[in-house]
Symmetry: C2
Subunit: 213 residues, 2 copies
Amino acid sequence: MSASGTVDDPSEVANDWRDFATPPLPPILQAALMTFIEQGYHGTTIRQLAAAAGLSVPGLYHHYPAKQSLLVAICEAAMADLWDRSRAALAEAGEEVLRRLDLLTECLVLFHAQRPELAFIAAYEIRSLQPEAREAHIAARDRQQRLMDDIVVTGADQHVFTTPFPRESSRAVVTMCTGVAQWYHPGGALSPAELARQYVTMARMSVGAPRPE
Amino acid sequence: MSASGTVDDPSEVANDWRDFATPPLPPILQAALMTFIEQGYHGTTIRQLAAAAGLSVPGLYHHYPAKQSLLVAICEAAMADLWDRSRAALAEAGEEVLRRLDLLTECLVLFHAQRPELAFIAAYEIRSLQPEAREAHIAARDRQQRLMDDIVVTGADQHVFTTPFPRESSRAVVTMCTGVAQWYHPGGALSPAELARQYVTMARMSVGAPRPE
DNA sequence: CCCGACCGAGCGATCGATCGGTCGGCCAGC
DNA sequence: GCTGGCCGACCGATCGATCGCTCGGTCGGG
């Protein structure tokens, strides 16, 4: 909303889906995210959230009307960020299915390696969302999954991918990319870019596409 | 059915790792498991747990000394069950790495399809375990992961698997099998056995092994 | 002199856990 | 065959602590 100081201009993210320099969340939400990661949503108290944000309890309520709204804001930001990056990656990829598979896989791995906390909460705190927000979140997740489904099914139709089970292979590829968020942390042996290259190869193997050179 | 042993004999589970007929948990823990699935550990109250078990609050405390001990008991049962089945599957498989990959994959998929609730809690409620129990749980998980790691690394050494990244492929295979618990439910289009056959093929593709006929 | 940002104090509700019981079945002694 | 004692299973009532949240302020910048 504010014109001057915001760093998270959605068009900026969409134009460079490989860039993770700009923080994805305002400070209060970032502090809440880290606390939710460690203790879970229901395991975190309002007082802990306020302390993590460097505020008193009423100070926190001045910015967000309820504990639930913090989680909702985090989940919405996570899904929107991944969605924008995915669309940008597919726009860059063009129409060839193999290249679309490569870039969407790269995008998924980069996101889950660079924003593991965001991805973790968005994936495993769905139960803590109240019904309305949960439905919206699930719809966003299904829409995201469909990006990969379309690619793998199309590739199988065109006999570019030889998998006998396109839908299951698609789910498996997305699952293994999503799983990166559970163990990767930025100081690891592999850089996110190197990791993404490995996963591009593994994704190709999983759907029965030729390996890159 | 079997010539020796009773149905409750734990060695029987180890001897028939494909059988999921006998309930894995006593009724109170089973009720607690379903409640944890729906609302998470911290989101569940002692009163809900007691009601789900058909008991009063003190009645529940008569069987388990604390809320935490219910979660610990569930996690321990889950890890022990999967571990016993995996050992039995590998014992049946013999020494050939391809067959070891096939049977361990089948075992993982069957478990995660037949016991999705157990697998889900064991995987995503680790944060809710107190430090001591959490360490033991993580050790059990690492030991379980190592079963697949050894197979894939050995297969790559023997040039039976052509994957350029044995360790990463192993993690990817386990991740995609584990992911089954997140979406499969027993009334689905595929039976657990059919699903396992698909995943055996996908696991082979992921590590670069020849597909089955 | 007003308004957005923020805080100390405290609200009612609910949390996990505990206390002092009740009740039915089992078993030894006679 | 009866009885007194005992124990595991279970419960109503309630504990102190803590929960999410709110009220009535303070205070500095415009």
